[in-house]
């Protein structure tokens, strides 16, 4: 990709998406929101401090603001929109609502992606592991207690469903 005005394809939530007429230096966060209309990932700090833009890139939870979009060609990108069928909340999203873990809501999509990623790799985390896994997602409303309670509920429900 050597053109400043670019055309390239990204794989987002299982679909191939064309990125046209963008500046080649745009971050993945910017492209997701402004070029592809996926507004779930939020932009706040744009320097990897807040976690509100967290997406899965080839299975890793990363800050999409720090991914050069054009370098993500060929990678599998999953945003918060891709975690559950459209209009149906995932168990994590439902638990956040039930526990009042959503207040202003700005950090929520990034936290939801981070929680899905954590529980996929560690289905029964200790509280310290939960806190570590979510340490890159900053919430200024909840004080985190309700978020941790929501995660505990998902863990318990999934364990119950599996047994």
């Amino acid at each position: 990709m050597t053109d400043t005005t670019s055309f390239y394809e990204l794989t987002v939530n299982g679909s191939r998406r064309e990125v046209r007429d963008s500046w080649i230096g745009e971050s993945l966060l910017y492209v997701l929101r402004e070029r592809l209309g996926l507004m779930g990932s939020k932009g706040a700090c744009e320097q990897g401090e807040c976690g509100s833009c967290t997406v899965l890139l080839d299975g890793d939870a990363v800050c999409s603001c720090l991914v050069l979009s054009a370098s993500a060609v060929g990678s599998n990108i999953v945003t918060v929109e891709g975690l559950a069928p459209n209009g149906e909340p995932s168990d994590v999203q439902r638990a956040f609502v039930d526990h009042g873990a959503v207040q202003c809501g700005f950090c929520t999509p990034g936290l939801i992606v981070a929680v899905h990623h954590l529980l996929e790799h560690n289905p029964d985390p200790s509280m310290i592991e939960v806190k570590e896994a979510l340490s890159g997602n900053i919430c200024r409303c909840t004080g985190y207690g309700r978020i941790f309670a929501a995660v505990e509920t998902v863990v318990a429900v999934r364990k119950g469903a599996g047994s």
């Binding site: 990709m1 050597t2 744009e46 890793d60 990363v62 603001c65 720090l66 991914v67 370098s71």
Partner: protein
């Protein structure tokens, strides 16, 4: 700006020859901040994240080789963490889980910030940096690689391929002070490596000088007082004097993150703590 995404190191080297001013992009955690805030606009970017060989590591009797593109997350636990506990300790202190999934030692070395958490560890482990260019492979000791604040001896046609570390036996750890306990840049840091194989203790300091500083005077002083082929003595007075000498090697400054006096004090506390931790 042009963006190139090579899938092999040879292809990346050819692209660098064709675009000698290109910015090499690893995890993006430094460069993309500059791009997002319009502080830099490279003519060309060569993204290295899709080169599989850079994301490999090997652990053998002759030493450990860590590819420049191995993310910190892969160093926190598992075989690399067991082989190099100080690398694991440093990796765990880098940014957030999201940053550790992206950030790499190659990126840390390319940026060469004195606050880079990987760098004191590479210094104290006497690591070598392996560089590839059209001219072949060049291996540079860490001490000759980092030359100043965000300066290194990488030639413009070279790509950082990996770091090599000789096997060590004995305690090693990394400790850091920041303004909070997670997601934080280093205000002062110490890596302590007790290598029984070479009967030596090596100490490197981060964020308290223009480069990573080795506390050579303290290392030599300790070598004259202990038998480093064995476990170090649990001696509080010895630890105190050792830590004082380590702190005297620091060359900290006052800046927006901290003061020189606090940084020197923090180095002394961390050095004493790590020495005593090594004796238990």
């Amino acid at each position: 700006m042009s963006v190139h995404v090579p899938t092999s190191l040879d292809e990346a080297i050819q692209l660098l020859v064709a675009n000698p001013t290109a910015r090499l992009l690893s995890g993006g955690t430094d460069t993309m901040v500059e791009v997002n805030f319009n502080r830099t606009k490279p003519e060309a970017v060569i993204a290295l994240r899709r080169i599989p060989s850079l994301r490999e590591y090997s652990i053998g009797p002759d030493g450990i080789v860590i590819g420049a593109g191995v993310p910190y997350a892969s160093m926190e636990t598992g075989p690399l963490a067991e082989a190099l506990p100080a690398v694991a300790a440093a990796a765990r202190t880098v940014g957030s889980p999201q940053i550790r999934a992206a950030g790499t030692l190659g990126g840390n070395l390319g940026t060469c910030s004195p606050a880079g958490d990987g760098l004191p560890v590479l210094s104290a482990l006497n690591a070598s940096i392996n560089l590839r260019s059209p001219r072949g492979t060049r291996t540079v000791p860490f001490a000759e690689f980092m030359t100043g604040v965000k300066r290194n001896s990488r030639a413009t046609d070279e790509i950082i391929e990996s770091v090599s570390v000789a096997p060590t036996t004995g305690f090693q750890d990394y400790a850091k002070v920041g303004v909070r306990n997670a997601m934080v840049i280093s205000v002062a840091s110490v890596c302590f490596v007790h290598d029984r194989n070479t009967s030596s203790v090596r100490v490197a300091l981060g964020a308290v000088g223009p480069t990573i500083i080795r506390a050579r005077e303290a290392e030599d002083w300790l070598a004259g007082r202990v038998d480093a082929s064995k476990q170090l003595p649990s001696d509080g007075a010895l630890a105190t004097e050792f830590a004082r000498l380590v702190a005297s090697a620091a060359r900290p400054i006052d800046d927006h993150r901290s003061t020189a006096a606090y940084r020197r004090h923090a180095i002394e506390v961390l050095a004493r703590r790590l020495y005593l931790r090594s004796t238990t």
